[in-house]
């Protein structure tokens, strides 16, 4: 006979009600004995299981609180919730306000931490750098590019022992993938050297991207693209096409989709041996005066980019000819700085497209500041309201004292109660964070999984905020308790009136922040409105663009335009080198009247004779292109700005030297009214338009102006594309959508700020309501006396309102210069901006005034109307 296992029985005895214990224990033991006859081991397991099953509410005994500490806390909790029920409005407002503040701050923390940690997931991220180039033109104009001289990567690796690995990548216009009949366009790709797989982190799930392969190119796909292309088939070893560019390329590896923290989330990587690059390209790839490749380097452990930069001079001399050296000054950017530290870069057009657009460091600071602001409002509110509440409770404190509580115990009670409130608020805020998460993602244009809101790092910040508010909110009333220690008697309102100055200054701070936020939101919206409604000099409605992705389409441009126009819904069609809103490098050309002066650098477009009509642009002088090759070559159109900068009196008929790669003498035939094809962050510059028949600049887009039936027009465009260029899938875009990309980031940012502002105002109103409530209670008797003496309702109202008006004025005085200064700085970034107006501030002031008056009014009006007999009997 074996012995009964002790542990489960002890467990049972611990939780089970005494009156049930004998029966349950007896039955369990009997069963155990029965089962042990066959298998002891099994019987033990079953016994344990039975004990766990017996852990039911019916069986569990009540645990009396024998511990004095627990007992006290139990009492505090009970008293707390009793008061919660009694003073529901106050507690609900207080807790909810705090929870809202938490929610805003937590979301902002999540946003900021995501912005700052982009690309930090690479295991070697501290050693990965992107090489940037600084181009100083002969005219002294400075530009920064992430596109470098093409052979830079391998040379860096060869010359500098600090560089462990280098990789180059490049984007060469729109792309597509084709396997059998399955074909779709895919712009999210890069041509890259295989060493990129040694520098950046890729989780390869099939094949090996580092293997050697025949020919010059192979493909690595991410899992979603592989699934899209091949369905359930095994992708490795399959041959796919990149229509119009490559055919029969072998898939050699599949990697997991890159994480949402990647600036680049490539669907496809064409692994290239650039040294084997075909025909006409190879010269360009080897040229030191080229610009195209994005260069990555991996530094060895314990080396810094500065080590390389220190030895830069001989390197520059060795590789770059003297006349191009100034165009290719290079430096390093850590991969973790890429997202927030790239706003100074110019677009060149050969950079792979960042999946997550570059961010803006100053906005991250602004939004963080707003988060802190909102939390300060919520925190001050809470501190104000809880101190007011605890002061009201001097009677309870008195009774506790009479019963033997000492000052420390009273303070502990304050801390404990504050802790409960904070805990409830925190719980609510976490629930709200989870619930509002999709809304937040929509607003912030991000894709952060909800689990990330509870990363250790973020929870750490939560804890700090929690403890800070906890300590500060409890310490203020605790100090009053301490000072009134001896005289604490059974008087109801012994503390009333204490801390008035502090409370008032808190209200001033809250008002001030609210005014700042309101003014900020208004200015932001007015600026964006201004930018979007500004007359751009062209119409961007009902325009569709079709990309030209192959030589075939380029050669048949005239026929394609004729075919596009054949639909009844198409009003006009044209072709050009660039269209508005495209984030592609727009080439410049130098313009000069005689070749002795410095040329004026003008943005250069090539277009056909339909272009001006299609975009609704107008000529102020001269004539348009004729459409015949012979007549249009060596003719240019200028915009008004270019005419002004060249100082031309009679522009039409003027001959100009136009220098791009070559210098040619051309004649001005017309002047176009100024138009904005680029973001209004940039000032308007001079523009020169040459005919598309001119070989200097190739055409890249067709634009169609249509009248109705959008779907039909798109189908028609695809049909035309198929007819003339069956190889390449059609890429049709709405022009206004592309245009809005310039302001997408601005819009996301301003909506974030707007929402934060609205919430902060709600929180402030909560706080004000609580305070007014307190004032009203305190002044009940005073108001009664005033009424008896003959005061009217209006007079009583004005006494209370005057109080808050003064506070608001002080806040306005403090907030105005601060907000003014910050907004001036923000607006300075726009080339076309609104001016700050005093009315905006006046509006914010009136808004806050109205909200607070309504709040005060709602509470005090009732009191002022009250029969003085009732109010005098108060207390």
């Amino acid at each position: 006979m074996d012995t009964l296992p002790k542990l489960p029985i002890r467990l049972l005895r611990w939780f089970c009600k005494v009156e049930y214990l004998e029966e349950i224990e007896g039955d369990l033991v009997e069963l155990y004995e029965l089962r042990a006859a066959t298998s002891v081991k099994k019987a033990r397991r079953r016994l344990f299981w039975d004990v766990i099953c017996s852990f039911r509410p019916t069986n569990i005994k009540s645990f009396p609180l024998t511990n004095p500490v627990m007992n006290t806390l139990y009492n505090y909790t009970k008293v707390y919730f009793r008061r919660f029920r009694k003073d529901l409005a106050h507690y609900a407002v207080n807790t909810l306000g705090l929870a809202l503040g938490f929610v805003v701050l937590f979301f902002i923390l999540l946003y900021v931490s995501d912005e700052q940690n982009l690309d930090a997931h690479h295991s070697k991220s501290s050693r990965i750098y992107r090489v940037l180039e600084k181009r100083t033109s002969d005219e002294g104009q400075v530009q920064h590019f992430s596109s470098t001289a093409n052979p830079l990567g391998p040379a860096l690796k060869a010359e500098f022992p600090e560089v462990e690995e280098a990789a180059r990548m490049i984007y060469l216009g729109s792309g597509a993938l084709k396997y059998g009949e399955n074909q779709f366009s895919d712009r999210n790709y890069a041509f890259a050297e295989k060493s990129i797989f040694q520098i950046l982190d890729f989780n390869v799930v099939a094949g090996d991207p580092l293997q050697s392969f025949g020919g010059e190119v192979a493909i690595a796909l991410n899992q979603s693209t592989a699934r899209k292309l091949f369905g359930d088939q095994d992708p490795v070893g399959k041959l796919v096409d990149m229509p119009g560019k490559l055919s029969d390329v072998e898939v050699i590896a599949v990697y997991e989709d890159l994480p949402y923290t990647s600036t680049y989330q490539f669907n496809t990587i064409y692994i290239f041996r650039f040294e084997k690059f075909p025909q006409n390209f190879s010269g360009w790839f080897a040229s030191w005066d080229s610009r195209g490749m994005t260069t990555w380097v991996l530094m060895k452990e314990n080396t810094r980019p500065a080590d390389v930069l220190a030895k830069k001079a001989p390197f520059m001399e060795k590789y770059f000819a003297e006349d191009v050296r100034g165009y290719h000054d290079f430096y390093f950017q850590s991969i973790t700085d890429m997202h927030l530290g790239s706003s100074h870069l110019d677009h060149y057009g050969t950079e792979p497209l960042p999946t997550i657009a570059y961010g803006d460091r100053s906005f991250v600071s602004i939004i963080l500041l707003i988060g802190v602001f909102v939390m300060v409002i919520a925190g001050l509110n809470y501190i104000n309201l809880s101190s007011v509440q605890s002061l009201k409770r001097s009677l309870e404190a008195g009774i506790r004292k009479v019963n033997g509580a000492n000052a420390t115990q009273l303070k502990v009670q304050l801390f404990y109660e504050s802790f409960i409130t904070l805990l409830i608020a925190y719980g609510i805020s976490l629930a709200l964070v989870v619930a509002l998460h999709p809304f937040f993602l929509e607003l912030a244009q991000k894709s952060i999984p909800v689990a990330d809101a509870f990363r250790m790092e973020i929870l750490g910040y939560h804890a700090v905020i929690f403890v800070a508010i906890w300590v500060i909110s409890a310490i203020i009333p605790a100090l009053y308790y301490a000072s009134a220690n001896r005289s604490l008697v059974l008087v109801k309102n012994v503390f009333v009136g204490k801390g008035e100055v502090l409370r008032r200054s808190f209200v001033v701070v809250q008002y001030g922040i609210s005014i700042c936020l309101i003014v900020g939101s208004i200015v932001l919206y007015r600026q964006l409105e201004f930018v979007q409604s500004k007359d751009l000099g062209f119409s961007r409605d009902q325009l569709l663009t079709l990309d030209i992705n192959s030589g075939a389409a380029r050669a048949k441009a005239t026929q394609i335009i004729a075919a596009l126009k054949s639909s009844a819904n198409v009003v006009n069609a044209s072709t050009s080198s660039r269209v508005p809103g495209e984030w592609k490098y727009i080439p410049s050309a130098g313009l000069s009247v005689d070749r002795t002066h410095e040329p004026v650098m003008a943005t250069h477009y090539a277009a056909d004779q339909n272009w001006l009509d299609t975009y609704g642009m107008t000529l102020s002088k001269g004539r348009n292109f004729s459409g015949s090759d012979a007549a249009d070559t060596l003719k240019v159109l200028l915009n008004e700005k270019a005419v002004e900068m060249l100082g031309l009196e009679n522009p039409v008929g003027q001959t100009l030297w136009v220098s791009e790669d070559t210098v040619s003498k051309m004649t001005v035939i017309g002047v176009v009214k100024n138009f904005h094809f680029e973001s209004l962050h940039k000032p308007l510059g001079p523009v020169v338009i040459t005919s598309c028949n001119n070989p200097v600049l190739g055409i890249d887009y067709f634009t169609v102006k249509y009248s109705q039936n959008t779907a039909e027009v798109i189908a028609h465009m695809e049909e035309v594309q198929k007819q003339f260029d069956p190889e390449t899938p059609a890429e049709v875009n709405f022009l206004d959508e592309r245009w809005e990309r310039y302001y997408k980031a601005d819009q996301a940012r301003s909506s974030l700020i707007l929402v934060a502002t609205i919430i902060s105002i709600i929180i402030s109103t909560f706080g004000l309501f609580g305070l007014v409530n307190f004032t009203a209670e305190r002044k009940t008797k005073e108001i009664g006396i005033r009424k008896v003496m003959g005061a009217t309702v209006a007079e009583i109202m004005s006494i209370v309102l005057k109080d808050y008006l003064v506070l608001l004025l002080v806040a306005l005085l403090l907030a105005t210069p601060l907000a003014w200064w910050m907004l001036e700085r923000w607006l300075a970034d726009f080339a076309y901006r609104i001016d700050l107006s005093i009315f905006t501030f006046a509006f914010a002031f009136v808004a806050v005034l109205l909200v607070s008056f309504v709040t005060v009014f709602a509470r005090v009006f009732r009191l002022a109307r009250l029969n003085p007999v009732v109010s005098l009997r108060y207390e």
Binding site: E23, E25, D27, L34, D50, C53, R56
Partner: protein
């Protein structure tokens, strides 16, 4: 008073208590349930059912004497009360009368 309802399992346990007259306690009910009704249950489920039945006044309990079994722990025996018997009778009548109303036709294949 609201009429008390019997759960399916509770009814089964009550029947078992009645059937095992004077010999009904946790383990015996468990064993008979398994043997006669083919019903596997955890002992704690039976305990809970017995407690509920007792609260509803359908059964009463008493402790047995101390024996060498079960490490000297007493058994708790359950007996059906008159009220419990009435509840069973009522349940039986309802079911038989309903059963008799089943028309004598062939049934659809389920």
């Amino acid at each position: 008073m609201k009429e008390q309802t019997l759960g399916e399992f509770e009814e089964l346990v009550l029947l078992m208590v009645a059937a095992l007259h004077d010999e009904a306690y946790g383990v015996s009910i468990l064993e008979h349930l398994e043997r006669e009704a083919g019903r596997k249950a955890n002992i704690s489920a039976i305990h809970v059912a017995l407690k509920r039945l007792e609260q509803k006044g359908l059964v009463v309990s008493r402790y047995g004497g101390i024996t060498g079994d079960r490490g000297g722990r007493r058994k708790k025996f359950y007996v059906v009360t008159a009220f419990g018997k009435k509840a069973l009778d009522q349940q039986y009548t309802v079911r038989t009368s309903l059963y008799k109303q089943i028309p004598d036709i062939s049934f659809a294949k389920g």
